[in-house]
């Protein structure tokens, strides 16, 4: 197959047709675009005019190029281009497939197995013997077998959660020459170079590596009371955001996710850290951390006891003992425990309820019976009671004659003082800790001395209960088991009064050993040595917990080595339990680095999957077609025939316009329509409330009022309009009828602006609460409240109840009351500016000439009284019988008066001057 870079051609000879392109160039160039025939009377004026340029004589070069490109693409397309054509290299001789099989392989194990299977099958097809080698296995002699023998084994292959030991394999390679395919996990493992050399000595080596990044989580550690989690990755590429899950049993024992925290790798950084701050209750339950992204053993970090913090209750002497802070028996305990444990303080009965891990009694002698019982019960269930001696304990007769259940030994009266001003001897130092003591291995500094202590009665069990003694053999710390728990007595005070022990580091270490406080993050080799550690729980390569099964215990030294060097075949990662604590062996140590495997240039490295062969014929043909289409347009344009298309293009552009401007246009259109409709004649308007029934009645009411105006006055209103105060322009309407409903929304700030502008510039709003039948007499209706709410934002002048001489009573009809459907609710209008204005002698009205009230407020439900249907028949009943009809008539008259007032202002008020005017005219 003929290939050109990554592209191969199925029928390369067709490419010869490309030679014809230059010929095509000349052919196309010679043919000018065809002319258009046009009928045009103005041709008479054109006669004799010559063309300026002869340029368009030939096809323009870019059009030619377009066509050449199209033809060229078509030729290439028919030559059958294929991207990444498969080139198979046949091998010969035996084939060795090497698989790392480490935890890092687990991230894409199925594909590795698939690849290995394909390699084996391929070799089988070629009749080559095959051997498959998993480097994480124990080295053993290899034999080449037929591919069929391997097929089943390949499928059953699993990765292992430890790093492969490579060097030993170099010695076990089979004889003779063979070809090697190494499926590497991408990480650098010790001994890889030696094995590679050995393999290259036998034949060619090909490496297949997955480009996917390796992610790993380091063990959690404590820093300033918070859990710090670190993760590494390889390679250090772009910024990456991961999540770390903290898992553990919930209170009912079901394992679930307890916390989740983000972990961000900066670009180019191989390591990232995050801090987890959890309440101790939750934190103590965490059994494992894992990266949400990676399902490998490396992405899992088991949490052991080093993460747990004990709950310690500190009980000091009674409150009557006042002293300096440094003399407080609890001070040193608090200092020692605060960074590593949760401290509880309070009365004994309270703290026992909190179920602490440890209760420390510092120089507490007497306990009430109830306290004693509760404490005993708590210790028997597994609690640790740590008591410190002191003056009170020494002075009391507790455990004097028979052993107190809450003290490990009987005490002699008074204790002893050594090395003091009034005593003989030197202050006593500590004897080395005996084997079997929990303190074994700790070194007692020589400057720790004891000046006073309480003494234990020599008893048969005293020796076995003593876990620390002074150099003269006097017990310093005694311990006894009580039920599942234990009681420990330190025969000195918890402060520096009797000894310098609390001042030394030994005090802290002893507390640690007593499991009062949490230990250091990672147990040192010394901590582990001498014990047998039994695996409780093991991790597989995918990070899943497995039962340890029959696996035997390991010595502490071996475990310590594995913790520093990483798990091995003999010591898989997992949770190992010792006598009093559990230690996690994780794949990743705190400082383990992920290093990429560095292959020499002589070794070809492939990705796990190769790009698939892709036929490009379709793509090329499509491109050629698209270019030809473009050519059609271009040719039309050159020939000047595109003008007819322009309209189509414009239409298309219009159709493709984003929706937003279109929506605006739609909004603008009705506005114009509304403006036209509202301004061609007088139009009464009502505010749309959103309540369809109310709006319908308002519409019908204004229709009825309009009819009456047509019939009786020269005002000839058009059909009424419902306006939306949020959207519509109000300036067109002289009069707005606003029926108030209880659930009407408060207008927006913009609508208020519009309404206020409307009121200031001479508009009138008739607010109708339609509740005159129930309102009044001090009652507040929902509609009234809604009106208050709405009117709060309106620029409404001071109001007064309509005075009997208001101009509304006489703008057209002479009226005394203004009923709607309800007869006589109060009506409020703008207060007269001159309240003191007096009616002139002999005149029924005061001289109030200025201003049209901007609002009229009432509750008579006028629209209901005005409302008529399309035939002009009243819609709703008003009152009863003829009296009701009379009331309706008066309601109409009020409406007419109102509209007259709106349209003519106060001209009726000015009529008081008519006699004077007539007099002046001299008639």
């Amino acid at each position: 197959m003929f290939t050109l870079g990554p592209i191969g051609f199925a029928t390369p000879w067709l490419l010869l047709a490309l030679i014809a392109l230059p010929v095509l160039w000349f052919l196309l160039r010679a043919v000018p675009p065809a002319p258009i025939r046009r009928r045009f009377p103005g041709v008479a004026l054109l006669l004799g005019l010559k063309d300026d340029e002869a340029e368009t004589d030939r096809t323009p070069w870019w059009l030619l190029l377009l066509r050449m490109l199209a033809v060229g693409l078509a030729i290439v397309a028919f030559a059958g281009p294929i991207l990444n054509p498969e080139a198979r290299v046949a091998g010969s001789g035996p084939l060795l497939v090497v698989v790392d099989g480490s935890w890092a392989d687990a991230r894409d194990w199925p594909r590795r197995v698939e690849k290995a299977g394909a390699l084996v099958a391929e070799a089988g097809a070629e009749g080559r013997p095959v051997a498959l080698l998993r480097l994480t296995d124990a080295p053993e002699a290899l034999t080449f077998q037929t591919a069929e023998a391997w097929t089943g084994r390949v499928a059953a292959l699993e990765p292992q959660p430890w790093t492969p030991a490579m060097e030993p394999w170099a010695g076990t390679l089979p004889e003779g020459r063979f070809e090697t395919v190494w499926l590497s996990d991408g990480l650098d493992h010790p001994g890889r170079g030696a094995l590679l050399d050995a393999l290259q000595g036998r034949g060619t080596v090909r490496v297949i590596e997955s480009p996917r990044p390796v992610l790993a989580l380091h063990p959690a550690r404590f820093d300033a009371g918070k859990v710090v989690l670190a993760a590494s990755r390889m390679p250090a590429a772009d910024a990456l955001q991961l999540e770390v899950l903290a898992r553990g049993p919930d209170p009912s024992g079901i394992e679930r996710e307890l916390a989740r925290l983000p972990l961000a790798f900066a670009a180019g950084e191989a390591r990232a850290e995050a801090t987890l701050d959890l309440p101790p209750e939750l934190r103590n339950r965490i059994t494992r951390f894992e990266l949400a992204a990676g399902r490998t053993a490396g992405a899992v970090s088991l949490a052991d006891d080093s993460l747990k913090r004990r709950k310690v209750a500190l009980i000091g002497a009674g409150p009557d003992q006042e002293g300096l802070q440094l003399l407080s028996p609890l001070h040193y305990l608090r200092q020692a425990l605060e960074p590593v444990a949760e401290l509880i303080e309070g009365s004994l009965s309270d703290v026992v309820l909190a179920n602490p891990d440890v209760v420390v009694l510092a120089d507490v002698a007497r306990l009430t019976q109830g306290e004693s019982d509760a404490l005993t019960e708590w210790v028997e269930e597994g609690g640790l009671l740590l008591r410190f001696a002191g003056p009170r304990l020494a002075a009391s007769d507790i455990s004097r004659f028979e052993e107190d259940p809450l003290l490990p030994v009987r005490l002699r009266e008074g204790g002893r003082t050594v090395g003091g001003a009034m005593s003989w001897g030197e202050p006593k130092a500590l004897a080395p800790f005996a084997e079997g003591s929990p303190f074994y291995g700790l070194v007692a500094p020589p400057d720790v001395v004891v000046r006073a202590q309480v003494l234990a009665q020599p008893d048969p069990q005293l020796a076995e209960r003593t876990i620390a003694a002074l150099e003269d053999g006097t017990p310093l710390v005694t311990r006894k088991a009580l039920g599942d728990g234990q009681v420990v007595l330190v025969h000195v005070t918890a402060n520096a009064e009797w000894s310098s022990l609390p001042l030394s580091g030994l005090f802290v270490q002893m507390l640690e050993r007593l499991a009062v406080s949490t230990r250091a993050a990672l147990p040192g080799a010394a901590d582990l040595a001498g014990q047998t550690w039994v695996p409780e729980e093991l991790l597989d390569a995918y990070g899943q917990s497995q039962d340890a099964g029959e696996m035997g215990g390991v010595a502490g030294e071996v475990l310590a080595e594995a913790i520093s060097g990483g798990p091995t075949l003999a010591l898989p990662p997992g949770l190992y339990a010792g006598e009093d604590r559990r230690v996690a062996l994780n794949v990743m140590g705190p400082e383990t680095k992920l290093l990429p495997a560095d292959w020499p240039p002589s070794v070809p490295v492939e990705g796990l999957e190769r790009p698939e062969a892709q036929a490009l014929k379709g793509a090329f043909l499509t491109a050629a077609l698209a270019l030809l289409l473009l050519d059609v347009l271009a040719a039309l344009w050159v020939a000047g025939r595109l003008s007819g298309l322009r309209r189509g293009v414009a239409l298309l552009a219009l159709a493709l316009l984003p929706l937003a401007p279109e929506a605006r246009a739609q909004d603008a259109m009705p506005d114009d329509a509304l403006a036209l409709e509202a301004t061609t004649a007088v139009v009464l308007a009502h505010v749309l409330t959103g309540d369809a029934k109310v709006d319908d009645i308002a519409q019908a009411g204004l229709l009825g009022l309009g009819d009456k105006l047509w019939q009786r006055t020269s005002v000839e209103p058009q059909l009424p309009i419902g306006v939306d105060i949020e959207r519509d322009e109000l300036a067109f309407f002289p009069f707005l009828y606003w029926p108030v409903t209880a659930d009407q929304p408060t207008p927006s700030a913009k609508a208020y602006d519009k309404l206020n502008q409307y009121l200031r510039t001479g508009g009138m709003i008739l607010f109708d609460t339609r509740d005159a039948d129930v309102a009044g007499y001090g009652a507040t209706t929902p509609e009234g409240q809604a009106l208050q709410r709405i009117a709060a934002g309106l620029d409404v002048p001071p109001l007064e109840q309509m005075p009997p001489d208001h101009v509304l009573t006489r703008t057209f009809y002479l009226l005394h009351d203004f009923p709607g459907r309800h007869p006589r609710g109060p009506i409020w209008v703008e207060a007269a500016p001159m309240a003191e204005a007096e009616a002139p002698e002999g005149m029924p009205f005061r001289n109030l000439n200025d201003g049209v009230t901007p609002v009229v407020i009432g509750g008579n439900d006028w629209a209901a009284a005005w409302a008529v249907d399309d035939g002009g028949v009243p819609l709703l009943p008003v009152g009863r019988g003829m009296a009701g009809e009379q009331q309706r008539e008066i309601a109409w008259r009020f409406g007419i008066n109102l509209i007259m007032h709106v349209l003519t202002g106060n001209y009726k008020s000015d009529q008081v001057h008519v006699p004077a005017l007539l007099e002046r005219l001299g008639q």
Binding site: P35, I36, A44
Partner: protein, 290 residues
């Protein structure tokens, strides 16, 4: 049998076109309300003009006794002089007038007929006699309007470009030439000269399609006249635009100069514009030319 359906269909076609044209013309003319059309001096006519004291020489028959009885003097009743003018309208029937640059616009011929007929409506209403050059002699009255409408609708020339027809023109009358005046200038000049010789004054109204005014063409084009008698090929029509426009302006200028020389008015009307303004102008020009 064979001619009867043909005749009938033609008659129907005519009947279909005639009323709309006439109605449209009437509608157009109705927008022009110029009031009573008189000569503003005493003379022969039907309308009362004034009473004047009787002079010597006035026959006794001329005295209006009813008016004279109201006073001591004798009065003669004078009527307003109502001398009708003869207006001859020539609507270019040539094929070039059938052009329209856009389907939404009427052909130039349609607009010319409409304008001519509307003018006729107005003039007839004003009491003038209106005729069509070479088709109908000037006459007054409502029936003349129907006749004119029929003649106009039926008129269909065969020539590419028209030259003004002066046949049937009344001496010292008025004339209206409605054409695109894109044809040979000599023919137009000759027609105008013949009219001027007879003392006829009038109006030259050039009716053009906006396409003729803008020349919105591009690319390689062969232009042909409507009848196909003339053709011009260009490779880049857009290049010709400025020169075409200058030639058109020159043509208009020439027509205006020609008209001025013999006391005629000249204006250009585009079919893209409403006909009313052109009608008003033409009517005013006819009035002013008196």
């Amino acid at each position: 049998m064979s001619s009867s359906p043909d005749l009938r269909s033609r008659a129907e076609a005519l009947g279909q076109t005639l009323p709309p044209l006439l109605a449209e013309a009437e509608m157009l003319a109705a927008t022009v309300m110029l009031g009573e059309h008189g000569r503003r001096r005493a003379g022969l006519g039907d309308e009362f003009w004034q009473y004047r004291p009787a002079h010597q020489g006035d026959s006794a028959r001329m005295i209006d006794w009813r008016r004279s009885a109201r006073s001591d003097a004798h009065f003669v009743r004078e009527r307003e002089w109502q001398a009708a003018q003869s207006v001859t309208i020539w609507v270019d029937p040539s094929r070039s007038m059938a052009f329209t640059g856009d389907r939404s616009r009427p052909a130039k011929a349609d607009r010319a007929r409409l304008l001519g007929l509307a003018l006729a409506v107005l003039l007839l209403r004003g009491g003038e006699r209106v005729g069509l050059a070479g088709l109908a002699a000037p006459r007054a009255g409502r029936t003349q309007l129907l006749r004119l409408a029929g003649r106009l609708a039926g008129e269909e020339g065969t020539q590419d470009y028209g030259a003004p027809e002066t046949e049937g023109m009344v001496s010292h009358g008025r004339a209206v030439f409605l054409s695109d005046f894109l044809g040979d200038l000599s023919g137009i000049e000759a027609g105008l000269a013949r009219a001027a010789d007879r003392g006829v004054k009038g109006v030259l109204l050039q009716i053009l399609d906006p396409a003729e005014e803008e020349f919105p063409f591009d690319g390689r084009t062969i232009f042909e006249s409507m009848g196909g008698s003339l053709r011009h090929e260009t490779r880049q029509a857009g290049e010709l635009r400025s020169r075409y426009l200058s030639r058109l302006a020159e043509r208009k200028d020439r027509l205006a100069t020609l008209g001025r020389a013999v006391g005629w008015h000249f204006s250009t009307h585009h079919t893209g514009q409403p006909a009313q303004s052109a009608l008003l102008w033409a009517y005013a020009a006819l009035q002013g030319g008196r």
